[in-house]
Amino acid sequence: MIVEDNAMPASTPENSLPEPAPATRPEAPPAAALLPKPDPRSPGGWRGVAHSFAESKLGLIGAAILLLAVGFCYLGPLFYRTDQLSVDVLNSFLPPGGGYPLGTDDQGFDVLGRIMLGGQASLEIGLLAALIATVIGTLYGAIAGLAGGVLDSVMMRIVDILMSVPFLFIVLIVATRFSSTVLSLSLVLGLFAWLMPARLVRGEVLVLRTREFVIAVKGMGGSRWRTISRHLVPNALGVIVVNVTFQVADAILAVATLGFLGFGLYFPQTDWGGQLSGGVSHLLDGYWWLIYPVAICLIGVVMALNFVGDALRDAVDVRLRRR
């Protein structure tokens, strides 16, 4: 916190303040003169969220894993150059060792390099899909929550209907119709994943709308726009940000599922799901290096995202509930 202790009149003992001057300075009541000491571990606002987050060990571990994964996938190829374009059948299924730290796969691609490439696709699709879902969901939910009444009912029934459509089924159909690129996969996943954030944000808006500080703004003559931009959005943002991390994790898993089912990116592009699928078909041949490294990466990243999300959620909650 920026407030320094010496900035307040702490030198005067508070109980000596009121005595002498009964009427000269009636505007300086003694009672509240001393602020409680700012807790250095919990400053306000977003800095406070960062501090609370930093107190969560799992959250920090998760963040570290994510940082490592991003560095591995994007910086890795700069230092560890491999050919991920031309098939090399002569060198297929090589066990780890020699020039291949993690061996080679059925097409003779270097597995380590391929995990980096597949990781890029998985992370990109995950992030992009989560952003699309969050933006759509937030807007939709906020509009429903703010509008209320009939419009709210209709909008939320639409969500209910979409929720009951088997997601995978539709995605598979769409994926067979259109060429699978990072962008198209992100769009497809994002367009189906906005339902949860929509519900979440609507609920949050409904709660915030009845909070007294929002009513107070109306009482001051504040406009609707001011209420939304200054009070509703900043207060709902915490929940939204937390949701993004879970959305990313979900999207990475979803894209892995698609890849595993063979509806992922087109060869020679790949993602972690596609790699797993390739590995599983040779599982009985004892080619473990096709499964474990990529699986560990996938599970690790998803787990890390969940850790980060949990820690963020706690941090945001503390801000709202510290009373």
């Binding site: 916190m1 920026i2 407030v3 320094e4 900035a7 307040m8 009149p9 508070e14 109980n15 303040l17 009121p18 005595e19 009964p22 009427a23 009636p26 505007e27 300086a28 009541p29 003694p30 009672a31 509240a32 003169a33 001393l34 602020l35 409680p36 700012p38 807790d39 919990s42 400053p43 306000g44 606002g45 406070g48 909070r211 007294e212 500080f213 009513i215 107070a216 703004v217 109306k218 009482g219 001051m220 003559g221 504040g222 406009s223 001011r226 200054r230 009070h231 900043p234 207060n235 801000r319 709202l320 510290r322 009373r323």
Partner: protein, 711 residues
């Protein structure tokens, strides 16, 4: 026992029972264990409680009073453990009792009544099953026998038609009835110790009086000991034989109730008693107030925990922790420099704070005369009204109308209220929860639209204003909220919150606004450095000051304060009340103060309106209304207020207003109060009584008023 003690019945009983106490807590300490460190929560708590006796534990939030109750129940929250001392219950040591043995004890020999009956009862089970459960568990009764026992108990605690209520779920009952059910549940096995943790805090005064009376009666009938945990000195004065005052996790003073109130020795107890507004306190004098805020639970420091707020503090108080001096078990206190012992005041309705104030050498925060403006405020009768309500009504539809033509039932929150509030005046609005007072307040500041009637601000109708006009005029109408935590945006700093009304109303440049925020902080007694704080970094009292400052920021003509001090600790309330009065004097603001607390309204308001079920039943100056109430409801409300003076409290009549508030969906015909009125006659059901004149400004709507009307 010294012979000087007045031979009250209660005291005599104490002597008998000290021989064989039901509960004996000796130097009990408890703490929150964090790794290898222990954060103390209770330190050296000593209590004694005899059979048939009631021990009051009073304290503000964070004083450890609830923790003490939970420690005896063996229900301390996770992480908190007993670190020393003993809890002896009828010869059994509880401090290190195994959980299995505790289970046999809890609910059978020791039972607890919680504050919030809605969360303490299981919403998915009928009350019959819940009341019968302890009987099945501990007494080994069969299902049918247990249910009949439950019926018996529900009858005992005053639930009407108990057999029919067995199948009811908790949400189907009113708050007062639920509290009775909880008491029945606690009493099923006839425990020898009942711990009641703030049993009436969530209830209205009229219900509170009934529940406390019930607990007193039951204690006598069943011969059990009771531990009454509360923050209300008035409740303690009227319903306990012995009191322990807690502060910062320890007992700071304990004595017989009569003695504690008459010969208060600990400065905290004295200051607390002085800061409570009372019906008979002099309104022209500011309330005493205790500076600062009580320490939070576990916030431990060297020396006396009250030293920072104490006017009698000496250097020693900050270095050595005073211990409860048990040399005189009749009256023990933990203080290095106690209030001087005074002779017991002569019997009679002499307010206690006089005995405290006679000590002129160390007045507890000077009692500033509240200037001459208070009597003057009432000479403004001739000035035009700032706010005028004309036959104001508000009805909320129940559910949505699906088919046209079908009658929609409505909740009649406000049913035709007319009144005028003049400039510079404070109008107090009192009534039980659900009487429509908050709805009325929100209509005055145009946060709710009236269903019928009009709110006139300086003669112009709020509902006829255009949107932009209304938006501009809102600067004259501000609302101060009850919950200062909810009313301040947690993401905005104090200065951002205070500047917001100025920004919205486009007042001044950014620099002007910063200057104004500084002024406001000076005015409410917060250091300017508070501007960069977030709400959660302030104490409850400080937040409520910020709430007041925000309401003052635009220099409004009218401030509606909805329960401004209800959420605050007793020692903080007087700070805020004094501040509200002080700012009003300086700015000539008109206040409409809404509260369920009659003493608060009595202290702050020049004129008072009493609401019952959406209608104004009595109005007049606060002296007129409190000294000579005309409406039986007003008289009942006044009688129900717990007075922090055992002599007055014990002589009080039993609760005058019985039963509970009828549903505002179908209010009774004629006079709405008739269903609970001891004076009701046939005519009350047929004709709605009009407001009648009782001299001066005094008006009341009653067919059979307690005083004679004028003409």
């Amino acid at each position: 026992m010294p012979p000087t003690t007045p031979p009250a019945v209660a005291v005599a009983r104490t002597r008998e029972n000290t021989v064989d106490p039901v509960l004996e807590v000796t130097s009990l300490s408890a703490g929150l264990v964090k790794g290898s460190t222990v954060q103390p929560i209770l330190t050296d708590v000593n209590l004694q409680l005899g059979a048939g006796q009631t021990l009051g534990i009073v304290g503000e939030s964070g004083s450890g009073k609830s923790m003490t109750g939970l420690a005896v129940m063996g229900l301390l929250p996770k992480g908190v453990t007993v670190t020393g001392g003993s809890i002896r219950f009828r010869g059994t040591e509880l401090a290190d009792l195994a959980e299995a043995d505790y289970c046999r004890l809890r609910g059978k020999d020791i039972a607890m009544v919680f504050q919030d009956s809605l969360t303490a009862l299981n919403p998915t089970r009928t009350i019959g099953r819940q009341v019968a459960e302890p009987a099945e568990l501990h007494l080994g009764l069969g299902r049918a026998a247990a249910l009949s026992r439950a019926t018996e108990l529900l009858g005992l605690v005053g639930v009407p038609r108990p057999a029919e209520r067995l199948a009811a779920y908790p949400h189907e009952l009113s708050g007062g009835l639920r509290q009775r059910v909880m008491i029945a549940m606690a009493l099923v096995c006839e425990p020898s110790l009942l711990i009641a943790d703030e049993p009436t805090t969530a209830l209205d005064v009229t219900i509170q009086a009934q529940i406390l009376e019930l607990l007193d009666d039951l204690r006598g009938q069943l011969g059990m000991a009771m531990m009454l945990i509360t923050h209300d000195m008035g409740v303690v004065a009227g319903h306990t034989e012995r009191v322990g005052v807690m502060y910062g996790g320890s007992i700071v003073e304990t004595a017989d109730t009569a003695r504690l109130f008459q010969r208060t020795r600990h400065p905290y107890t004295a200051a607390l008693l002085g800061s409570i507004p009372r019906l008979d306190s002099d309104r022209s004098v500011e309330l005493d107030s205790i500076p600062g805020a009580p320490p939070e639970l576990g916030d431990h420091r060297v020396g006396c925990s009250f030293a920072d707020r104490c006017t009698r503090a000496q250097p020693r108080c900050r270095e050595q922790t005073p211990e409860l001096d048990l040399a005189d078990p009749e009256h023990a206190f933990a203080c290095w420099n106690p209030e001087p012992e005074t002779a017991p005041a002569a019997a009679g309705p002499v307010p206690i704070e006089l005995s405290v104030r006679t000590d002129a050498s160390a007045p507890l925060v000077s009692s500033v005369p509240a200037a001459s403006s208070v009597p003057a405020a009432w000479s403004v009768t001739s000035s035009p009204p700032v706010i005028e309500l004309r036959e104001l009504r508000k009805e909320y539809p129940l559910g949505r109308r699906l088919l046209p033509g079908r009658e929609v039932r409505t909740v009649k929150a406000v049913s035709g209220v007319s009144l005028q509030v003049r400039a510079g005046e404070t109008f107090g609005l009192v009534g039980e929860s659900g009487c429509g007072k908050s709805t009325l307040g929100r209509m005055v500041v145009a946060l709710e639209d009236a269903s019928a009637g009009a709110v006139l601000l300086e003669g112009s109708d709020l509902s006829r204003m255009s949107r932009t006009e209304l938006r501009r005029r809102r600067r004259d109408l501000q609302l101060m909220f009850q919950d200062s935590f909810d009313s301040l945006d947690p993401h905005l700093t104090v200065s951002e919150s205070l500047a917001e009304p100025l920004e919205i109303q486009r007042q001044g440049s950014a620099a002007d606004r910063t200057e104004r925020v500084g002024q406001l902080l000076d005015e409410i007694g917060l250091p300017r450095s508070a501007a960069s704080r977030y709400p959660h970094e302030l104490s409850g009292g400080q937040r409520q000051r910020v709430g007041l400052a925000r309401a003052l920021a635009l220099n409004p003509k009218v401030i509606v304060a909805d329960e401004p001090v209800s959420a605050l600790d007793v020692s903080i309330r007087s700070q805020i009340l004094n501040l509200m009065r002080r700012t009003q004097r300086e700015h000539g603001t008109t206040y409409i103060v809404i509260s369920h607390d009659l003493t608060v309204v009595r202290y702050i308001a020049d004129r008072i309106g009493v609401m019952y079920l959406g209608v104004l039943v009595e109005t007049g100056t606060s002296d007129e209304v409190y000294d000579t109430p005309a409406h039986p409801y007003t008289a009942g409300l006044i009688a129900a207020i717990p007075v922090p003076d055992p002599r007055v409290a014990r002589e009080k009549e039993r609760a005058l207003v019985r039963g509970e508030l009828p549903s505002p969906v179908d209010p009774p015909s004629g006079c709405r109060f008739r269903t609970r009125c001891p004076l009701a006659q046939d005519r009350c059901a047929e004709v709605e009584p009009p407001l009648r004149e009782f001299g001066g400004t005094h008006q009341a709507a009653c067919h059979f008023p307690l005083i004679d009307p004028v003409a």
